[in-house]
């Protein structure tokens, strides 16, 4: 197998009118697309489930807990296989849904369990008095969440959500197993074709580094923007 480096291979034609570099860049695009869409799903669902778990209703807490345990205790690879091979069989109307959407929901729901855990911890970290104060002022429970608890809780959970956003890029690599043409899928296919796995793996690894670093920087900016003056949220510097 190719033990020598061959950077020119990226200029070679794949046989389909584009170079391996084009292919790799499009694979990188798929990685980022799957990750970003899955992050949106995970943030929406995860916040909702996290909030449910802090409400006074036992039923809602149970639903939230069950959701978290279900999606946390099954490997992502197995969850993706369920989305691909089981759910469309059970719900025939989903058979026309493109693979990308299934992968996004698979990765998104998997990550939502972790986000829910962080959001719940963020809400629990607030002094109980804030909730009582909100309710005592005559706010309804949803209003208390909307205007009192969540604005602070979300700021508290930004650092752990940063690391979850970096995790989601890493975890998007698992979607190669369900034929999403992201970076790992590219790495496997193109090394087979070119017999130069070293070169290709290194290039792909570097792209993962860059992606993780970029997310880290973006989230650092977000964290600074939303900081409440005088509050040292998330430890600070």
């Amino acid at each position: 197998m190719g033990s020598t480096w061959d950077w020119e291979l990226f200029l070679q034609d794949t046989g389909g009118g584009r170079t391996y570099l084009d292919w790799m860049m499009s694979a990188w695009g798929w990685t980022m697309l799957v990750s970003v869409l899955a992050l949106v799903v995970a943030l929406v669902v995860g916040s909702l489930v996290g909030i449910l778990r802090t409400t006074p209703s036992k039923t809602l807490v149970f639903i939230g807990d069950a959701w978290t345990e279900l999606f946390r205790n099954v490997p992502l690879l197995v969850q993706l296989f369920i989305w691909y091979h089981v759910i469309p069989q059970m719900v025939p109307s989903l058979q026309a849904v493109p693979g990308l959407v299934l992968a996004v929901f698979g990765l998104g729901f998997f990550t939502s369990a972790r986000i829910a855990e962080q959001v719940r911890a963020g809400i629990m970290a607030l002094p109980k008095g804030q909730r009582y104060a909100g309710l005592a002022m005559g706010l309804t429970l949803p209003q208390t969440y909307r205007y009192v608890l969540l604005p602070m809780a979300f700021r508290i959970v930004i650092p752990p959500i940063t690391s979850e956003s970096m995790n989601i890029i890493k975890n998007s690599s698992v979607t190669f197993a369900v034929q999403i043409s992201e970076l790992i899928f590219f790495a496997l296919q193109s090394s087979e074709e070119t017999a130069r796995p070293n070169t290709i793996y290194l290039a792909v690894t570097v792209l993962y580094f860059i992606s993780a670093f970029a997310v880290n920087r973006v989230m650092a900016v977000v964290e600074k923007r939303v900081q409440v003056p005088g509050m040292m949220v998330g430890g600070g510097k």
Binding site: N73, F81, S173, N198, A212
Partner: protein, 230 residues
């Protein structure tokens, strides 16, 4: 509506396809856990040693492995370990099980990076005064670590180490990338050979869920116990 029938998953099918993979998954988890904690503890000690030539390589190692997807790391190790290595350690048998052995090595070194962060937090959770007390009664650095700091660090972090091990067990399914024969590979074969994907993948999910959920319940109980001791 689809009709589900798990009847085909009899003892015969399980022992033919699944048992072997299940045993391998457990072996992989245990070896990578023990090896990973040992190497991870050494890495943590290096990072906290205060000596630049020890801190730097350990930090680079840990941060590099933590920024790359596990699947990529699995592929790298499988690519880079030469066939000669396998025949040297176990002859024909090892060569025939290249993917499985490569995964054991990968997970040990990969998980070491994650365990090292846990152990680092654990070591830092022991009050510094205890180390000074150790020095004051004439203990060496090694004695301080061995007799005072590490036992407490390990105990304080036991729940977190075990939680990481549950994640490790789930992650072993990713040996799919190099075709190693693990629990999921076994279920995947059942799905394909017996043409029962729906039931097989559901069964795989249930098996992983039952194992991971019960282990995490045990960890939670342990956590409560340890809290009382502290």
């Amino acid at each position: 509506m689809l009709h589900l029938d798990f009847g085909f998953l009899n003892w015969n099918v399980i022992s033919t396809y699944v048992a072997k993979g299940f045993i391998y998954s457990v072996q992989l988890t245990i070896v990578a856990m023990v090896g990973g904690i040992v190497i991870g503890t050494l890495l943590a000690l290096m990072r906290l040693s205060g000596k630049k030539w020890l801190v730097m390589p350990a930090a680079v190692y840990v941060n590099t492995l933590r920024s790359i997807p596990l699947v990529m790391v699995i592929l790298w190790f499988f690519l880079l370990i030469p066939a000669g290595f396998y025949s040297a350690i176990g002859g024909q048998f090892a060569l025939a099980h290249r993917a499985e052995l490569s995964a054991v090595i990968t997970f040990t070194f990969f998980e070491a990076a994650y365990y090292s962060e846990i152990m680092r937090a654990g070591i830092q959770s022991v009050p510094k005064g205890q180390v000074y007390a150790g020095y004051a009664v004439g203990m060496t650095y090694k004695q301080c670590m061995q007799l005072i700091v590490l036992p407490q660090a390990f105990r304080n972090m036991l729940p977190v180490l075990l939680t990481q091990t549950i994640i490790l067990f789930q992650d072993t399914s990713l040996v799919y990338a190099i075709g190693a024969y693990d629990l999921f590979h076994g279920m995947d074969l059942v799905a394909k050979n017996l043409s029962r994907p729906v039931e097989s993948y559901l069964a795989a999910a249930v098996v992983y869920f039952v194992i991971c959920f019960s282990l995490s319940m045990l960890v939670r109980r342990l956590q409560k116990k340890i809290q009382i001791i502290r």
